[in-house]
Amino acid sequence: MDTQALTYIFVGLSFALYIGIALWSRASSTSEFYVAGGHVHPIANGMATAADWMSAASFISMAGIIAFSGYDASVYLMGWTGGYVLLALLLAPYLRKFGQFTVPDFIGERYYSKTARVVAVICLIIISFTYIAGQMRGVGVVFSRFLELPVDMGVAVGMGIVFFYAVLGGMKGITYTQVAQYCVLIFAYLVPAVFISIMVTGNPIPQLGLGSDVVGGDISVLSKLDGVLVDLGFSAFTEGSKSKIDMFAITLALMVGTAGLPHVIVRFFTVPKVSDARRSAGYALIFIALLYMTAPAVGAFARLNFVESVSEKSYANAPEWVKTWEGIGLIAWVDKNEDGVIQYGPGAAFEGRVDFSGEVGVAGERLLTNHPTPLTNEIFVDRDIMVLANPEIAGLPGWVIALVAAGGVAAALSTAAGLLLVISSSISHDLLKKTFRPKITEKTELMAARGAAATAIVIAGYLGINPPGFVAQVVALAFGLAACSLFPAILMGIFFKGVNREGAIAGMAAGLIFTLGYIVYFKSPWFGATNSSEHWLFGISPEGIGAIGMVLNFAVAFGVAQFTQATPPSVRSMVDNIRTPGTVLSQ
């Protein structure tokens, strides 16, 4: 059977599984729709959290980023896992004790203010939509590569599936579907990693293979990679090019941002007890670490394989996968010195995005209209293909490629569903029920939640098909905003009784305006600002500025709270209550 047919079967089977689970676990009350009734076992919740968390970006792009930026990519590895420590220690147990449905619920009640709740809802919606557009795109890319559907069709199919189980099942349906999706995606990630690790190092455990010697040599993978890259003019794989302060700020912003992402936090509302919330965060991180500790190995092996199969090799004899990916514009080669051999080095091979002229060159390559750069590098490779092309690069059988496709779709769908849920619950619960129409019945609220989920899917799908020009740039926005607004507000709500309504609102507003302003100033085309380190504040890039926004939020909140009316006693006793796990909330 050919790879394409296998891919259809694998992806089709996984869809059937998700739909089956959705039918079995329909939500019948708002509590089930928002937080799965609060009855999810901590291990199941850990798996669901892991699937929710690991997006198309983690599954598809992470190893590619590591492959092409080496040590610099550590910001993502530490940032996207370190946040779970903050969650488990500082937020999850207390929010579980609080025992409501959403993040704005907590902010609204702790700061006794509808304004605070609405500010939180606005943050949540901006964060979730920037994030979800990328997921839908991820589904589209996987479909177009493996099933040869147009990207738009792929997005539409993905929307249909998510629509079905998110609208029907709510959090309950999503949780159990995510457990299945985690199993699919981790299996799909580890199988090729193990094969490649054996191929490169002879060690079947990729996490350890990274430190092993290469097959038939007495030099370790990392030393070899350092040597090969330095010879080609790159900086060494294990050394970075980012400044220390920028590395520090980005890592911190990602850690804090992760802990402040609403679709992650809300997962800890679904476990039965406070102690379960702590443990569940631990399980979630184990399940995440399984992929995140494999990614550096996959990245390093992929880079080594890539260099060895293209550098100074004649194009005519290049492996088949080079031509496959060139076919869809993710690899491109321009023969600058007309020797028919691929020269690989640092810098861009040509200016702008790939633009094929439609003609074929002497060696059979697709010719480009792009203006070549004066650098020796002749090849362009999109870093996102590393995970997807890995099985082909390693010459693995067709079923592994099919499995990777199903895994990529699982990663994208699970994250999209989680995000849709927090968007819909913040609209039906926080805006409708708690702010504008408090008299609606539970039945109406549930209907509104389903309606909001459906609307959100359509908007997300639209953003996936017509991504705003800077969509890749705005992911930084999601983390930056979560870091500067939601995280500090929740943290102070739990640990500092003295922070009052005025302080929290002023803090969130200050953090939000500063961070949003900084990112838009450098990332949008509107101001013509040069996005480079000499122009940045303290040398911190827009990716890391959320860390400063967070400090600003804390400072403003504490300052304003000093000069305004103290937190009322009823709220103080509510805080006492959420701090102690074993007491009943007395309201």
Binding site: S74, L77, S212, L222, K273, R278
Partner: protein, 93 residues
């Protein structure tokens, strides 16, 4: 014991419990900081001079070691908190 006494004792227990929690938190977060932002970024150059099992130590902390220690930290916290909660009678199980 009168009712007032019970409430007073409950309050002392609560504040002792909270203090124990904060102390534990501070210790674990210090480790969290040291293994990631510390070993992986601030001191990475010094640590990279040491090589163990094919890894430069600083690079290892940045890409794998910190993650491993994060997992341990969460489970240590969960286990220690169970003990502390029982000691002060605020356990939920």
């Amino acid at each position: 014991m009168s009712e007032a006494n019970e409430t007073a004792e409950e309050n002392t227990n609560r504040s002792l419990y909270w203090r124990a929690n904060i102390k534990l938190l501070a210790g674990l977060l210090a480790i969290w900081f040291l293994v990631s932002l510390g070993a992986g970024i601030i001191f990475v150059d010094v640590l990279n001079k040491i090589e163990i099992a094919g890894f430069k130590l600083g690079f290892w902390f940045a890409q794998q070691g910190s993650i491993l220690i994060f997992v341990v930290l969460i489970f240590v916290y969960a286990a220690r908190m169970r003990v502390i909660e029982r000691r002060f009678g605020v356990s939920d199980e």
